[in-house]
């Protein structure tokens, strides 16, 4: 059983007095899909970078299966906001890249890469160049690449932010199918509230200045999707809409409270 545990994690930039993230604690286990959602400035990407091991927290601890996170590793697969595929490799080589780094023989890694390309609906694209793919296709290659090395947890950094609305919906459904079939726990960040509600089994709502958790929700829309309900029906479900309005209200309330705070101490504004 995979267990990702964050305890009182904090992060700050060297020059700035205010922390980017403060007292972040949550767990992520097998079969779970955790989404961190929040407006820009709430430290979402920082949080993902900490879990990925690209940066180190200034406080608190991050453990994956009782081992502290000390740097990037193949245990934590990452899908980036902009696809960062390697253009000197074709689609198959990109997906198989992690296995190549691990020393898996060519035949085996190609077979595994084929398997993953079918999983993300890209069978037949093995020998395409990456610049011949559409935005959605590139992101699917990115997901397949991150999953090929069988990571303990999959991290996605606003993976569908650059895609058009239709492609985005398709990608959300595809991601849920992949999640259900691989059983890999997923941590995804987004600023799209509907996306967060649709995908999450555990939703973490972040608020800026400093980035902190202001609410946690346990949701079941993604499990209901996995059980066969249609995406459109779920997204127009009354509970779905209520959840969305609730989250929006929380974000606006937090922002108004912050504005009032800033207004009271106007010298803080002028210093910024």
């Amino acid at each position: 059983m995979t267990q990702l545990i964050l305890e009182h994690v904090a992060a700050r930039y060297p020059e700035s007095p205010q922390p980017v993230l403060q007292d972040i604690s949550f767990n992520l286990g097998s079969g779970e899909f955790c989404v961190a959602v929040g407006p820009s400035g709430s430290g979402k990407t920082t949080l993902l970078n900490l879990i990925a091991g690209f940066t180190m927290p200034s406080g608190g601890t991050i453990h994956l299966d009782d081992k502290p996170v000390t740097g990037p590793s193949a245990e934590r697969g990452v899908v980036f906001q902009d696809d960062v595929l390697l253009p000197w490799q074709n689609v198959l080589e990109n997906v198989a890249f992690g296995l190549k780094l691990a020393g898996v023989p060519r035949r085996q890694r190609d077979a595994r890469a084929q398997e993953l390309l079918s999983l993300v609906d890209l069978a037949g694209f093995e020998h395409r160049h990456v610049w011949q793919l559409s935005g959605g296709q590139k992101q699917r290659v990115g997901i397949a690449r991150a999953l090929a090395a069988k990571p303990r947890v999959l991290l996605l950094d606003e993976p569908f932010g650059a895609l058009d609305a239709f492609t985005r919906e398709q990608m959300q459904e595809l991601l849920l199918q992949v999640w259900r079939q691989t059983d890999t726990p997923v941590f995804l960040i987004t600023h799209d509230i509907e996306e967060a509600i649709f995908l999450a089994t555990e939703l973490v709502l972040l608020s800026p200045n400093p980035g902190r958790i202001i609410e946690r929700l346990t949701l079941d829309f993604s499990r209901r999707y996995a059980a066969g309900e249609s995406a459109r029906a779920l997204k127009s479900d009354r509970r779905f809409i209520e959840t969305r309005e609730h989250i929006l209200a929380r974000i606006f309330a937090a922002r108004d409270a912050e504005r009032r705070g800033n207004g009271a101490s106007s010298d803080r504004l002028t210093r910024q």
Partner: protein, 286 residues
């Protein structure tokens, strides 16, 4: 004012039957001539002028032999040679020198460039040295090389080597430094070690810049070659041109210059071809 404008624009809505109406399909888009056509025109004009002034006897053949004489000389030097060596032997001598200089530069400049791009310490150590010697024209330090290394092959190759080295180091280091950090992170999160990162991500990502550096380096090296072959060489295109000039054998001088230009042109085209072949993603994907 506004009123009249309004009326006018309204009038314009009605198509005046006295004006010729041009259907859209008839409008011709002029296709621009390809650049190569203009190139042929300019080179052709120059050749024609050259032929004209020599044919009409405006210029003494001692200073400017006719194109035909130069062509004849080309055949003659190619077969029976000039100064104890055929054109091909001169060419081969030059190509050998630049080839050895280039290989030596590739073997040293690329690893050093990668190290400069990757490690601050190496950058701190080598950047000032390279920035110091790079702007010096090779001819300026040629005398020093002769004092230290004599007038043998070593001096000539060393000069070419130094000329090629700087552009390749600088281009490689720039290429390595400008590798997209997201690509590095992606490879790290796939489990890449430092060595694997260099081999599978940084070098391929820097390859377009490295190839550009080689192109620039080869250009500089080839033009330095003529200078290098002034140092008591017995063979080489630079030597051939230089000694022909001393005896006012102008047709050999012109022929030699043309051969030097053609070789440079072929090297440039070859490297552009390699660039297209090896880095097809360049400009199409970051």
């Amino acid at each position: 004012m506004t009123d009249t404008r309004h009326i006018r624009s309204e009038n314009n809505l009605h198509i005046d039957s006295s004006e010729p109406v041009v259907p859209v399909s008839v409008i011709k888009v002029k296709k621009p001539l390809p650049l190569s056509v203009w190139g042929f025109i300019s080179i052709g004009t120059l050749l024609l002028l050259w032929w004209g002034v020599t044919y009409l006897g405006f210029i003494d053949p001692l200073f400017l032999p006719s194109p035909w004489a130069v062509l004849k000389k080309f055949g003659q030097v190619a077969v029976s040679g000039y100064l104890d060596a055929t054109l091909w032997q001169h060419l081969w001598a030059s190509l050998q020198r630049i080839g050895i200089g280039l290989i030596a530069a590739l073997l040293t400049a690329i690893p050093l460039g990668i190290a400069i791009g990757r490690y601050r310490v190496v950058q701190g150590l080598f950047d000032p040295l390279i920035e110091f010697y790079r702007p010096i024209p090779p001819l300026a330090y040629l005398p020093l090389i002769v004092i230290w290394c004599g007038i043998g092959e070593l001096s000539k190759i060393l000069l070419i080597y130094l000329a090629i080295f700087a552009p390749i180091v600088i281009a490689t280091a720039n290429g390595v430094r400008s590798v997209d950090p997201a690509k590095i992170r992606a490879a790290q999160s796939l489990g890449a070690t430092t060595h694997q990162l260099t081999r599978y991500v940084i070098i391929p990502a820097a390859l377009p810049d490295i190839l550009t550096g080689i192109r620039i380096g080869l250009g500089v090296g080839w033009s330095t070659l003529v200078a290098a072959e002034l140092i008591a060489a017995t063979r080489g295109l630079g030597f051939m041109v230089q000694s022909a000039a001393q005896f006012l054998v102008t047709d050999v001088v012109i022929m030699g210059i043309l051969v030097i230009a053609i070789v440079a042109c072929i090297m440039e085209m070859g490297l552009r071809y390699i660039q297209r072949k090896w880095v097809p993603w360049h400009g199409r994907y970051n």
